[in-house]
């Protein structure tokens, strides 16, 4: 029996937006894509809506990234995301810089490691991540361990580089 999509929407929408955001790096774009994924789910009525949504979303994000690379990259860079916590411009700049550092670090991960990490952070279980990525269930822990370590190392390296550059 298909899960109640309204319930999935309520519990998964934000996670899906967050998952997509870390792929397209544009909050509104991420929301658009998440909403389209749900709109498609309403039509297709998949059995496992949650898993299906993340597969569809990942595909859309990939297509979108290709398109964005052609048309919109500069626009995305110009845009500053509003942030609920940081209203002070300095904080905002700081938050932007941190986000960019995380983004750069994520880009340094292998696609598989990154996918596993983003799916875990979106609330997926090891079983779900295994289904999603095609990895063995028993390999998820190792994959996540590696992804986390590389993310932290890359961020640390990035911030050191920044300090050096700033003098």
């Amino acid at each position: 029996m298909p899960e109640d999509l309204a319930e999935v929407y309520r519990s998964t929408y934000r996670s899906l937006v967050r998952f997509l955001y870390r792929k397209v790096w544009d909050a509104e774009r991420a929301e658009d894509l998440a909403q389209e994924a749900f709109a498609r789910a309403l039509v297709h009525k998949p059995e496992n809506a949650r898993g299906w949504l993340f597969v569809v979303a990942a595909n859309m994000a990939r297509d979108d990234a290709r398109k964005a690379a052609r048309e919109r990259r500069h626009l995305t860079l110009l845009k500053s995301e509003p942030d609920a916590v940081h209203s002070d411009p300095e904080d905002r700049i700081d938050a932007d810089a941190k986000r960019e550092r995380v983004r750069t670090a994520l880009d340094l991960l292998t696609p598989r490691d990154r996918e596993a990490l983003l799916l875990w952070d979106a609330g997926m279980s090891y079983d779900e991540i295994a289904t999603q990525t095609g990895l063995a269930r028993g390999a998820i822990g190792t994959t996540l361990a590696r992804a986390r370590r590389r993310l932290v190392e890359a961020c640390d390296a990035g911030s050191e580089g920044q300090h050096v550059a700033r003098g």
Binding site: L5, A6, Y9, R10, S11, T12, Y13, R14, S15, V17, R18, Y21, R22, A27, E28, A30, E31, D32, Q35, E36, F38, A39, L42, E81, P82, D83, A84, V85, A95, K98, R99, R101, V102, R103, A105, L106, L117, W120, D121, A122, G123, S125, Y126, R137, G138, A139, I140, G141, T142, T143, L144, A145, R146, A147, R148, R149, L151, V152, C155
Partner: protein
């Protein structure tokens, strides 16, 4: 499955992460715990990995999209797509449509000296000017004319008030949803729609019922990356939500949604796995969400007392306390957001001052915007919430 051989061999990273993520099967979990209890090296590695997980999770938390409420699901229930335009693009597209229409109308005027299209255009442009704070969007007030319509493409006779039949047809046409912030107020007076099917652009003033239909090239919509879609009657809620895209406005009922949003929502199964028991709750209260901590060892059950009051029940295995040197406490992630959302948390820095109680093998802490007395009474009622 990962290898955990009792006390004989050390534990690999993957197994440690699976353990810390609450994703290790019971047997393996027990074996690992037995080993860690005796092996100082693995114990310190466990703490290192715990710190690593917290660190990685914190870094990912820096790359969060701003919190905005989701539009109601039923608004997505439309044939193809709900495709929203960026506000500036929406505004630009509107201006382009209006100008294109005016340009076309101007052409018609010069050719046929018909007064209506000119009147129509000026009425609409003033409405748009009133409702659209273009200074905020930083757009030039007179964008270039981006297209020119072909005079032969449609009969000029349509430059007049929309006949009832046409209007009806237009309402059935897929329209471009242009739900940008400035549009929120503008939609009250005018609706803008473009149909890719026949290339007709209509700008209609609802107050007067005056309408104008003019041919326009579809690329106007395409170039603005809009997709034609059914125009759902956007309720105020959706429009309010979109107004946050430029200036972030915190919605009052979004407050509760802000609490601990770095904690992913999980289902009951994984929660049960983390706790080794059913998740706990106050009977009779609706469960809003079940979440887990980024490190995967704490389950958070959020229950609604009413539409704006949510209590939080933080739960973890009682035996987790033996690894007390937790480098990551939930209060780290939850507190700033709770402050931002105006939700009070008892206890300041450590999160340990919350009211807590053991039920079976589970330690439950309660937090919420209520008096300690009320929280205590609610805590007394807490019991496993059945499936």
């Amino acid at each position: 499955m990962q290898e955990v051989r009792g006390n004989m061999s050390h534990v690999d990273d993957g197994t440690l992460h699976a353990y810390l993520d609450g994703e290790l099967a019971l047997v393996e979990r027990a074996r690992l715990e037995a080993h860690v209890a005796e092996c100082a090296a693995c114990r310190s590695r466990l703490e290192e990995e715990r710190a690593l997980i917290a660190r990685a999770s914190g870094l990912l938390g820096l790359a969060q999209p701003p919190e905005r409420a989701a539009p109601p699901l039923h608004e997505l229930r439309r044939p193809s797509v709900v495709w929203r335009l960026r506000v500036p693009v929406a505004w630009a597209a509107t201006v382009v449509l209006a100008l294109g229409l005016g340009y076309y109308a101007g052409d018609r005027t010069s050719m046929s000296a018909a007064p209506e299209p000119v009147a129509m255009y000026s009425a609409d442009s003033s409405a748009a000017r009133d409702a659209q704070p273009n200074d905020r969007l930083g757009l030039a007030t007179s964008p270039p004319r981006m297209f020119r319509t072909s005079p032969q493409s449609q009969a000029p006779a349509q430059a007049r008030p929309l006949a009832a039949a046409e209007r009806k047809q237009e309402e059935r046409q897929p329209l471009v949803v242009v739900d940008g912030a400035p549009l929120a107020s503008r939609l009250d007076t005018a609706s803008v729609g473009a149909s890719a099917a026949n290339g007709v652009v209509a700008i209609r003033n609802r107050d007067t019922g005056a309408a104008n239909v003019a041919p326009a090239p579809v690329p106007a919509a395409d170039s603005a990356s809009a997709r034609p879609t059914a125009r759902a009657a956007l309720p105020q809620r959706a429009l309010e939500e979109v107004t946050t895209s430029n200036a972030y406005v915190q919605r009052s009922d979004a407050r509760v949604a802000l609490v601990a949003t770095q904690w992913p929502i999980i289902r009951r199964g994984p929660a049960r796995q983390i706790l080794g028991a059913e998740p706990m709750g106050v009977p009779g209260l609706a469960v809003r969400n079940i979440r887990r901590s980024p490190t995967g060892e704490v389950v958070l059950v959020e229950q609604a007392i009413d539409s704006v009051t949510v209590i939080q029940l933080f739960q973890e295995r009682a035996e987790n306390d033996q690894y007390a040197s937790r480098t990551y406490s939930w209060s780290d992630s939850a507190r700033p957001r709770q402050q931002a959302g105006g939700v009070q948390v008892r206890g300041g820095t450590a999160g340990t001052e919350r009211l807590a109680r053991f039920i079976g093998g589970v330690r439950v802490e309660i937090a919420g915007p209520l008096s300690a007395d009320s929280l205590n009474r609610l805590l007394e009622q807490v019991k496993p919430i059945g499936p």
